[in-house]
């Protein structure tokens, strides 16, 4: 049976998709050395560079956020597969500068292995860099092992905030401190309603019965807390937002950033309706949504579901979040 996808060669997806990406956004980004997405107008050498890595298949993440005020380089792997250490090292060498590099890594086994090896080699070469590991998934509960806390959509606002700090001319230590502060105050929880198809193999990632959904599912179909009957938007919002607010220890008076990230097939309509439910929870607790965005930032092919992201903000973080940026899939002016 043919896959219900518009593709040519299932084994050549990544390079073809990057070609199209360059056709569409050649005014902002360029594909270099096959798998490195870089800015067309590079950042000043005396500012901290922001580099990240990750598999393809989650578009617009990660490379859709390369550009002024966010990422300098995104190292792309194959579909759902981390890029190898050599490419990552190449990116770090390319961005080598006195100001240093902030290296943002999402906690997934392959990414972490590649990042660690590349970082070790880069440090041997005297490249100045600091690594931030995002692992804001709370699906495993408060006692989950570090490895279980996956890096989900939280990397995107982190790129934005770290990128703005770097653009403002802050030092590597300062950029790192800011990014890590944000990193420690953010949490994500995912929910799946329908599976996606792995576009290289044609395999369905998981199965969910017609009347069930699953909270806590990961972005490659990793199981969550087990299937439940489909809840209303308000009840889904309540369950998820309550867990997230607990996880970041949000208190009355806190100012929050809320992102609703569609997984692929779930409509903005639904995400808006769920956000209405989130606001009820937040209002009740005497907190405020200081800023919020709804869209597809990090997808899992045509999966139905979403990732709900909440972060506790302070004035500096809010200002950086609202600072200008110009990338293919996030622009602020």
């Amino acid at each position: 049976m043919a896959m219900k996808k518009f593709i040519n060669d299932p084994l050549n997806l990544t390079s073809e998709l990057l070609e199209g990406f360059q056709i569409a956004y050649g005014d902002k980004i360029a594909v270099q050395s096959e798998k490195l997405i870089v800015r067309v107008n590079p950042k000043d050498q005396n500012k901290v560079a922001i580099v990240t890595l990750g598999g393809a298949g989650h578009e617009p993440a990660l490379s859709g956020f390369v550009g002024e005020g966010m990422l300098d380089v995104s190292v792309v792997g194959d579909i759902f597969a981390a890029p190898g250490p050599p490419k990552v090292l190449e990116a770090l060498r390319m961005m080598n500068r006195e100001a240093g590099i902030l290296f943002v890594v999402l906690n997934h086994a392959g990414d972490v292995m590649s990042a660690n090896m590349a970082m070790e080699m880069a440090e041997k070469e005297g490249i100045k860099l600091k690594m931030i590991l995002t692992h804001e998934d709370i699906a495993g509960g408060p006692d989950a092992a570090e490895e279980d806390k996956r890096g989900l959509v939280g990397c995107v606002p982190l790129y934005k905030i770290a990128g703005a700090a770097a653009e403002a001319g802050k030092s590597l230590d300062e950029v790192y401190e800011i990014a890590e502060r944000f990193n420690n105050n953010m949490a994500t929880l995912a929910v799946a309603m329908n599976s996606a198809t792995h576009p290289s193999t044609g395999d369905v990632l998981f199965e969910l019965p017609d009347d069930e959904m699953e909270i806590g599912m990961g972005q490659h179909g990793e199981p969550g807390t087990g299937p439940t009957k489909i809840l209303s938007a308000d009840d889904t919002a309540k369950v998820m937002a309550t867990s997230l607010l607990n996880a970041i220890k949000a208190e009355q008076g806190d100012k929050l950033l809320v992102l609703m990230n569609g997984a692929g097939a779930t409509t903005l309509m639904e995400l808006f309706i769920v956000l209405g439910g989130v606001k009820k929870v937040i209002d009740e607790k005497g907190m405020t949504i200081a800023t919020s965005r709804v869209g597809e930032f990090l997808t899992v092919q045509e999966m139905a579901g979403f990732q709900m992201f909440i972060a506790k903000m302070d004035d500096e973080l809010l200002e950086l979040w609202k600072a200008p940026c110009d990338t293919p899939y996030m622009t602020v002016n």
Binding site: G55, D78, P85, G110
Partner: protein, 210 residues
Amino acid sequence: MSNTIGKKEIIAMIVGAVEKINANHQMLSQLDSATGDGDHGTTMLRSMKAVSETIESSTDTAVKDMLYNIGWAIMSADGGSTGPLLGSFFMGMSESVSDTGMDCGAVAEMIAAGINKMHKQSRAQIGDKTMMDAMLPAMETLNNADKTGSISEALASAAKAAADGAEATTEMTAKFGRARNLGDRVLGHRDPGAVSISLIFKGFCEGLDS
């Protein structure tokens, strides 16, 4: 067969491994469909292509550099976790290889150096249902072999140990990789990565003996 080997034999071993994987990649993907995302065969195939290409361009290269380059090439093939793991194996071997005169002890040391380097990335132990379930028994077998004995025989025992180790993963739940998310559902299925490793050792033997 002489009691020591050098670059030529090492190439033969690796070519044997490449052929073994190439002949079995569909089975590897099928295994990965049961416990992971179904792409392990494809990834290994891509990695082996990188290996072959490196060997072809290594006529005038010292074996040490050739192994390092192979590791680098595997890592460059963007194979998710497989790249850094398998790449480290070859890079580790490159640190204790010689162009000539390696006896069974030296071969065992070389392979141990590869496995140790890989193990640092992996952090998995026996029983975790990963490549290490084939790697670590192979290493132990080689370490216990007669340092001046038959390399061919030692590798055959190592391959047997790796195959047994891979077989044993059938009864395990996974602590690493995608399979760990499936909990008990992976019981009854061999781990594709462990099977790959056992095929590589089998290929080493067949390559050396050919």
